[in-house]
Amino acid sequence: MDIIQMKNVSFSYQQDQPVLDGINLNIKKGEWVTILGHNGSGKSTLSKLLIGLLKPSQGEIIIDNITLSRETVHEARKHIGIVFQNPDNQFVGVTVRDDIAFGLENLQVPRNEMVERIDKYAHKVHMAEYLNKEPHNLSGGQKQRVAIAGILAMQTDIIIFDEATSMLDPKGRRMILDYMSQLNKEGVTIITITHDMKEAVLSDRIVVLKKGKIIKVDKAKSVLKDQETLEKSNLELLLPLKVLNYLEKENIDNEKVRSYLWELSLTR
């Protein structure tokens, strides 16, 4: 079943300058899809459309059988959550506890249940001992973990990570990636928006955007190797795959090395 359907979606801020142009994309329940693209390719606009912060100038978006419109958007947001890029600009609460509670308060979850869920999901992202901390005493990675807990507590089926790791240090980045794969294994549909190929490796499918258009949608394995497509969108191949392509070009036929490089690129 397709949990997300985008049918011929376009969006423009100004006439004649489409930021997104004729996007068709279906995402299955439990799938992990990476959206790759250069700076300004429209990938963040895509995430804002999915969460109903922007309205398509053309086409329609269906989330969990709800066609997005002004009337249904609030209902649809109960099914889809998003972690944004800047850890500081999405931390609403005065403390970690208050921030995780924010979404639950909006959903009118009764207080008893709220307390339970906060506790549960703070544990899940290993932030339980920080519940009373204020945001300016947390690192960027910790704030992003709180953001994840806030969405998990709302028990949405889909989570979008919109360049959620780009402002973090390597350790913070690794942790967020670990949570992504763990959540995906538990059945959460995950959409990562990034230009970091290492984030794309673990996903099921990859969508490559260039100047507002989808130039490729395919299984992750085949896109990762597609130098031509990736370079069109300012992206770089993973190093083992670069070597693999080089060996092919030079006609160096060592099957053992080739299959090894291929395996290596798919493990993180």
């Binding site: 912060l53 308060e105 709220m114």
Partner: protein
């Protein structure tokens, strides 16, 4: 920069910390009215009031030093009103008067003293006392010396009423500020906000959305440290480009301030935009009903505190009406 944060909360565990913020806010209001009800000639009442405040600070384990820090920014206002009363209020019997001799040399001597005060005050810790010394010094110079040609004379007269009113205004201000300081010292900003929201609920009849106001205050509380931090970084970034915030002519000063304000505004706009998106994405709908994680609980202590405050108010009204 960090000292700007007004009304700092200092953790503690006295009964003041266990009270419901609603009680504290309502009691503060009731006691403020009570203080204003004290008639001008009821010295005993005022001293009882001061006694009660000191008692509150002692039982509530609030450090006097903290309260003094809260009062310090108001010292100028206090002294100004007092001096104003002394100089211009001419009601009631004369208490004391001094002749003042104005001559060029006298005025120069007084001016020298004032200049000396201006340049040395930064080295003195008790600024208020030092200011008082300076004032007394000027009066003594004008009163005692008559150097050179005295072209005019005047009189400094202190009337009983002036002293009385000056004293009362000062005391009222001090009590009110002390009470407010006690409130902010003993209440977490989030609780204070919650309490304010609850107390303001009746305003809903005036179509004022109290929940939204509470949300605005809560977000401001959240972002004050972030914004201060950011302002500091922008200052450093511009200092790196040769902006010397300590020096510069007036024209440079304007440019310096612009170089700070423009980035501040632009970053804040972007931030509020992103924050609004993040809030909406998490199902926030302005004006919609929400449940709350933080709920207030009314204890017996709160009833007692409120009753005591009301008794004090009734007491002061009674004194004003009856006596």
């Amino acid at each position: 920069m960090k000292n700007i944060v007004i009304g700092r909360y200092i953790p503690g565990n006295s009964f003041l910390y266990k009270m419901d913020p609603r009680t504290k806010i309502i009691s503060l209001f009731v006691l403020m009215v009570a203080v204003f009800m004290i008639p001008r000639d009821a010295f005993e009442m005022m001293f009882i009031g001061i006694g009660l405040i000191v008692l509150l600070l002692l039982i509530g384990k609030i450090s006097i030093k903290r309260v003094y820090l809260g009062l310090r920014p108001l010292m100028f206002l206090l002294i100004f009103t007092f001096v104003f009363q002394i100089l211009f209020n001419r009601q009631g019997p004369e208490l004391q008067s001094w002749d003042l001799n104005y001559s060029f040399l006298n005025i120069i001597a007084a001016a020298v003293l004032v200049l000396f005060w201006i340049f040395t005050k930064k080295y003195v810790r008790t600024k208020i006392l030092y200011f008082a010394f300076m004032l007394v010094g000027v009066i003594i110079i004008l009163n005692q010396l008559s150097l050179g040609n005295v072209f005019s004379t005047g009189q400094l007269v202190i009337h009983e009423e002036a002293l009385l009113i000056g004293f009362f205004i000062m005391m009222r201000l001090i009590i009110i500020v002390t009470l407010s300081t006690v409130l902010t010292l003993s209440t977490k900003p989030t609780d204070l906000n919650l309490g304010l929201e609850a107390v303001m609920k009746p305003l809903k009849f005036l179509r004022i959305n109290t929940e939204e106001i509470a949300m605005i205050i809560s977000i401001s509380l959240r972002y004050i440290p972030t914004l201060l931090d950011e302002a500091n970084k922008i200052m450093l970034a511009q200092a790196s480009r040769g902006v010397d915030f300590a020096e510069g002519k007036l024209k440079d000063k304007v440019m310096q301030i612009i170089s700070l304000l423009v980035p501040m505004f632009i970053i804040s706009f972007k931030r509020s935009d992103e924050l609004a998106n993040a809030m909406e994405a998490r199902c926030f709908i302005p004006g919609a009903t929400r449940t709350r994680l933080h709920q207030l609980f009314w204890n017996r202590l709160d009833t007692v505190a409120l009753v005591v405050s009301l008794i004090i108010l009734i007491g002061s009204i009674t004194v004003r009406v009856v006596v």
